[in-house]
């Protein structure tokens, strides 16, 4: 099947060598620092927030000062405290969505790739259908089915996002099952289900982890995109995208209320993207290859041109075009 799947299937397992390569890469180091910082904030943010993120005061739209390091918003709430408290909401939603999407994608992709035949065609048809709809539009429609909550946002994103993973994992499984050790196991009389669980799946772990890391940034973008459109996080929830949405009306007079949450989201996404790129490069045995080429291929495989398929899935950034960008 595709060369991209074969290439990522050839990625080495995580090792000290790979870790050393990762830490030598300046981009990855910056990514690691940013990701550690933001994960720390997601855990500690609500605790270290200096003020109550929901407390409305008369000190409205103030610029940064000693009392309010990042100023206050339109209702006089402390922006720093809201950013810190919101870290858990924004990043938590994206991370949880990433776990769910990976799980669904691995199960569906493995079943399709390993068993082939009718099941494969059926599952890939469904994948094609999901990928045929502009991502954010469908996520928006699904999110709107539920009550306003971040869980709804997560479900909306999972609905569209699993399909691209399933297709990539299927490609991976197809290429792994052609390898010699699988043939050896089969000729030794190992049962099919055991081959799948003990021989094929473990070899798919490291590429899937890389894929998931690369996608977290896009998921953060998508979460904040939906909440920015006013879904999922009703006021006064201090979620980053929702903060931006709530502050839009003050933008022309007091741009900092929009720029601060916007910059926070950008830095978080940048961190995860840098780290994801770094991990991919570190696990990539062909270090000489231009570093982004495989990602481009992966994207082509993942969503832009199915090798034999029907409905061509969306293109653009990330494996699923970040709905934010694809439709935004």
């Amino acid at each position: 099947m595709s060369t991209a799947a074969q290439e990522i299937a050839a990625w080495t397992a995580p090792s000290f060598g790979a870790l050393r390569r990762l830490l030598r890469d300046p981009g990855a180091r910056v990514g690691l620092v940013l990701v550690t910082l933001f994960l720390g904030l997601a855990v500690l943010g609500p605790i270290i927030a200096p003020q109550d993120p929901l407390e409305v005061t008369v000190e409205r739209l103030e610029g940064p000062s000693a009392r309010h390091l990042l100023g206050t918003d339109g209702l006089g709430r402390d922006v720093l405290s809201r950013i810190l408290t919101g870290a858990r909401l924004s990043l938590g939603t994206a991370l949880l969505a990433s776990v769910l999407v990976t799980a669904i994608g691995v199960v569906v992709g493995t079943l399709a790739g390993f068993y082939g035949g009718l099941l494969d065609r059926l599952l890939m048809r469904v994948v094609d259908v999901v990928l045929a709809v502009p991502g954010l539009a469908l996520a928006l429609a699904v999110t709107g089915l539920f009550d306003q909550s971040l869980t709804a946002v997560m479900l909306g994103l999972v609905t569209i996002w699993w399909a691209g993973y399933a297709r990539v994992v299927r490609g991976l499984v197809l290429s792994i099952r052609e390898r010699q050790f699988v043939e050896a196991a089969r000729s030794a009389g190992v049962t099919e289900s055991r081959i799948m669980l003990r021989h094929v799946l473990p070899n798919a772990v490291s590429p899937v982890i890389v894929l998931a890391t690369l996608e977290i940034g896009q998921l953060i973008l998508a979460v904040s995109g939906l909440t920015f459109l006013g879904l999922g996080a009703p006021p006064p929830t201090p979620e980053w995208g929702a903060m931006l949405n709530e502050s839009r009306i003050y933008f022309l007079s007091d741009p900092h209320v929009v720029f601060i949450p916007g910059l926070t989201i950008s830095l978080a996404v940048l961190g995860f993207n840098l780290l994801g790129d770094g991990i991919r490069d570190a696990l990539d045995p062909h270090q000489a290859v231009p570093s982004r080429r495989q990602l481009a291929r992966l994207r082509m495989l993942g969503r832009s041109r199915p090798a034999s398929a029907a409905a061509g899935p969306p293109a653009v950034t990330g494996t699923r075009p970040s709905p934010d960008r694809a439709a935004g």
Partner: protein, 314 residues
């Protein structure tokens, strides 16, 4: 070629059928019973049981779901997506009114992304590891990391607030198109630049390029005549796909700039749970996307015979 085209068209129809089931399901799962939603909006008070019964008959929601699906699908095939629940218009009319504005924005954005992305990609490939190459790499990283709404506000701040050079929100003149189109273009431009770079680099390593060089062709001729033509095939494909995608609705950008297109309409429809409108939008966007995708694939197959041969084998 004809067989390939027929096969591809059949698969598009199949995918559209799938999308129609998905879209119909959205309407069924939507919160609130349609009859009740419509009535309480028009009456301003909870409707009586008789009124509900009558409205259900009128909307056809008293019939089994399968019957409802096929009658809805029958309408959709003929371009009838039903009535908006709140806006007193037919869904297709509301979409048709806004489609040209979304198309203008999408085409401007896609055109810009080509104009920005391809030259940068070519230069980055021919001057590998130059300053420009590094800048374009960092630019691509930022292009993939910055939310489009953040890019939008930065552009608004610089060009509309600081320099007062361009209008900010709304619609009307060509100047109104500039900021939203640039916002829309930057992300795809970053992707195109990286894609062009790697495609050109790959082609520059091919045997026929070496042959052309060996026989003494000038560097510029090799680049434009031999390399670029071949390198641009995948680039144009991806660009075509992104046009299809942008046409489907530039939700966030339209929302930020209050651009009265389909995306803007869809977001407000979601907010007041006007599901027929949402359904119409999703189905329409998917149809446009699939058709553009089909056209891209067919032209690709014309340009590159290997595609249709492979298609036959598959």
């Amino acid at each position: 070629m004809r067989r390939y085209a027929v096969r591809r068209m059949a698969s598009v129809v199949l995918a559209l059928l799938g999308v129609s089931v998905l879209t119909f399901a959205l309407g069924v799962l939507a919160p609130g019973e349609p009859a009740e939603v419509v009535l309480s909006r028009s009456l301003g008070q909870p409707p009586s049981d008789e009124q509900l019964e009558e409205m259900r008959r009128e909307l056809g929601t008293d019939r089994p779901l399968v019957v409802q699906y096929f009658s809805w699908l029958g309408g959709a095939v003929r371009g009838d997506f039903g009535d908006s629940w709140l806006r007193g218009v037919r869904v297709q009319d509301a979409l048709a009114e806004r489609a040209p504005r979304t198309a203008a924005l999408a085409l401007a954005g896609a055109g810009l992304s080509l104009v920005i992305g391809i030259p940068i990609g070519v230069l980055a490939a021919t001057r590998r590891n130059s300053v420009l190459d590094h800048v374009s790499r960092v630019g691509a990283l930022f292009g993939a990391s910055l939310p489009s709404f953040f890019i939008a506000y930065v552009l608004i701040y610089v060009f509309a607030v600081r320099f007062r050079a361009l209008p900010v929100f709304g619609f009307g003149s060509a100047a109104h198109l500039v900021l939203p189109a640039v916002t829309l273009a930057l992300g795809p431009a970053a992707v195109l630049a990286r894609l062009t770079r790697s495609a050109v680099l790959e082609i520059l390593g091919e045997d026929y390029v070496r042959t052309a060089r060996a026989k003494g062709a000038r560097a510029r001729a090799v680049l434009f005549h031999h390399a670029l033509r071949n390198a641009l095939i995948p680039v144009v494909t991806v660009a075509g796909l992104s046009v299809g995608h942008l046409l489907g609705g530039s939700l966030i950008v339209e929302w930020v700039f209050a651009w009265p297109g389909m995306g803007d309409l869809a977001v407000s429809a979601i907010h007041d749970r006007d599901y027929p409108l949402v359904q119409g939008f999703v189905l329409f966007a998917a149809a446009v996307y699939l058709v553009v995708n089909l056209l891209v694939d067919l032209s690709y197959a014309r340009l590159d015979p290997r595609v249709r041969v492979e298609g036959r084998r598959a």
